[in-house]
Structures are given as structure tokens and as C-alpha cells.
Amino acid sequence: MNDLTRDLKQSFHDKEYRHGYVDDFLDMSIATQIKVLREQRSWTQADLAKAAGMLQPRISAMENVNYSSWSIKILRRIAESLDLTLKVSFESFGDRIRDIDYFSRKNLEKCSFKDDPYFKEQVKDDLLIKAQRFLDVPEQRKLPNLIYLVHDRDRNEKQTVKESFPGSMYNNNNNRQPRVEDLRKANL
């Protein structure tokens, strides 16, 4: 536990204090996150305003930490324009202290759908299964390297072509374990 967390844990026993603190933190974190997300995409305020169907001065006002007139409707529009989902939830003060502790640019940045690693992984798995359907079992064992080659091209990353060898599904330093169910699916 760091000094800030320890201090807050003590100070938050005062109800007025803790509500004043977290209300202000909420306004500041939303404003800051809008700016961080915009900059992550290398967008100007005008770009975001255009995508969200608003005027640039409004974006400028919302990126200011002194803005507090938030509405869920407006935040939804911002979220959609950034291709993100808005999450609104009630939280305990303990959870809020963790948010305060993790307040950083890195933690405020979020990927749009097209860059979301969760869905990139899905695309890779789908490609693997589709390719396996056209090959017999010995050939399937050579597939993983082929799939990663396609995936690397998508990301425009440096190509590393590796030798395939039987008996290993994922042998390319990705720390992925062989997934037997993929092979089973392909054999159906």
C-alpha cells in the first residue's frame, strides 16, 4: 500500500470529504480520458467532434477537468465515435481508491474494436480452423507458422519465417500451448 492509498483510506472515513474527493476525481478522469483516447488515435479535437457529431468547442470544454455536466447520452456518442463501449457502474469507495491509484495515461488508453486484441485473437483462431478443414492431419501440424505469417502481415510487423515441424501446434515464441480442440474441430 503506498502513501496516497494509506492517506485516503484514513481520510475517507469523513463522508463529506470522500464524496467531494471522488466526485471531483470522476470529472477529472472522464475529461482526461477523452483527451488521452483522442491523442491515442492521433485525432484533433475537430476530428473527434466530427466523428461524434458535435462542435470542436464542446470537445474542448469536455476535455477540461472543470467540466461536470456529463450526460450518459453524450458519453455514449463519444464512446461510439471512438469505437469503444461505455461502462457506467456503481462502485464501492475501496474500488475507487484503486482507480485513483492506477490513474495513468497507459491505463486510460483503450483500443478501438479493430485493434482489440481479443478480437484479433478470434480472427487468428478462425483462420486456423478454416485452413485446417482443407488439409489432412499431418499437414495441419505445419499450419501454425503459416497462420502467424498472415497475422504478422496484418500488423505490418517484421516477418520471421520459421521452420514448421511435426508435433508442435504453436512453436513460435508466443507461449501459446497446443490446443487439441482446434485439431478436433478441423477433423469434423
Binding site: S11, E16, V65, S104
Partner: protein, 135 residues
């Protein structure tokens, strides 16, 4: 992380803590002020939230932090540095704002004078302590 300091006058008196102790501040407003100072302290060089600090007109190096409260807005005055301008801020003087006017009226002038003093005597400051921590 930013390092925060408080100016101490020639008598070794921490003017910021004295201001916070004597200010009739509601708990809610104190919470707001502490949040802003905590965020400032945790700010990365590339993440200073917009609107957190305002420049004081007519004083190039003086800024104030705003925490809107009732009945007055709290606006402690501060500057970058004065030893390391990248990673330090020093609180110079505590002021409030009402109807867009500082109380005391000459608050920026005092803050600027304290900064000049601090530049000559860099030992006239101490690590900032959270206001709420004080008894």
C-alpha cells in the same frame, strides 16, 4: 511523479499549511482540493490534465490550481521548479477567489515575491504534506 513543495518564509513558517489550517473549508471542498493536488502529484510529464492549472495574468511564472467550493473558490498559487522545472511544483501562497477576484487582492504579487525569494534561497521550502493529514 511530480515532487511538490511548500514555500516556507524567513521564520520557517509553512505558509501553505497555515493557509489550509486557517481557511474555513468544508470537508467536501477539502476533498476536492486534495484530489486535484494528488492528481498533480501523480501526473506524468505527458499527462497534465487540461484545466488543472491556470496561468495568472500578468505573472509569467505563477499559476493557480482551482477547487470550486462554497462560499469561495480555493486557488493555491504555485510555480514550476524552482530547482527542477520538469518534475517539481512549489506552492507559494494560498488564496481564494470570489467574483473572479483574488482574496487577498495582491495574492499573485505575494506569490511572485515568494518565488523570487525561493530562487535565492532554495532551502526555503519543504516537502508538501497533504492538507487533510494535518490535525
Amino acid at each position: 511523479m511530480i515532487n511538490l513543495f511548500d514555500y516556507k518564509d524567513s521564520n520557517g513558517y509553512n505558509v501553505m499549511q497555515a493557509w489550509a489550517d486557517n481557511m474555513p473549508m468544508q470537508s467536501r471542498d477539502r476533498g476536492k482540493l486534495d484530489n486535484r493536488i494528488d492528481i498533480l502529484e501523480r501526473a506524468e510529464p505527458n499527462l497534465l490534465p487540461p484545466g488543472l492549472l491556470h496561468n495568472v495574468r500578468g505573472y509569467k511564472h505563477i499559476m493557480h490550481l482551482v477547487a470550486k467550493g462554497k462560499p469561495v473558490t480555493l486557488c493555491p498559487m504555485l510555480c514550476r521548479g524552482v530547482v527542477d522545472f520538469q518534475s517539481e511544483f512549489t506552492f507559494l501562497f494560498g488564496a481564494t477567489e470570489k467574483d473572479r477576484k483574488y482574496l487577498p487582492r495582491n495574492a499573485p504579487e505575494i506569490a511572485d515575491k515568494n518565488r523570487d525569494d525561493l530562487r535565492l534561497h532554495t532551502q526555503c521550502r519543504c516537502k508538501h504534506e497533504r492538507f487533510n493529514k494535518r490535525p
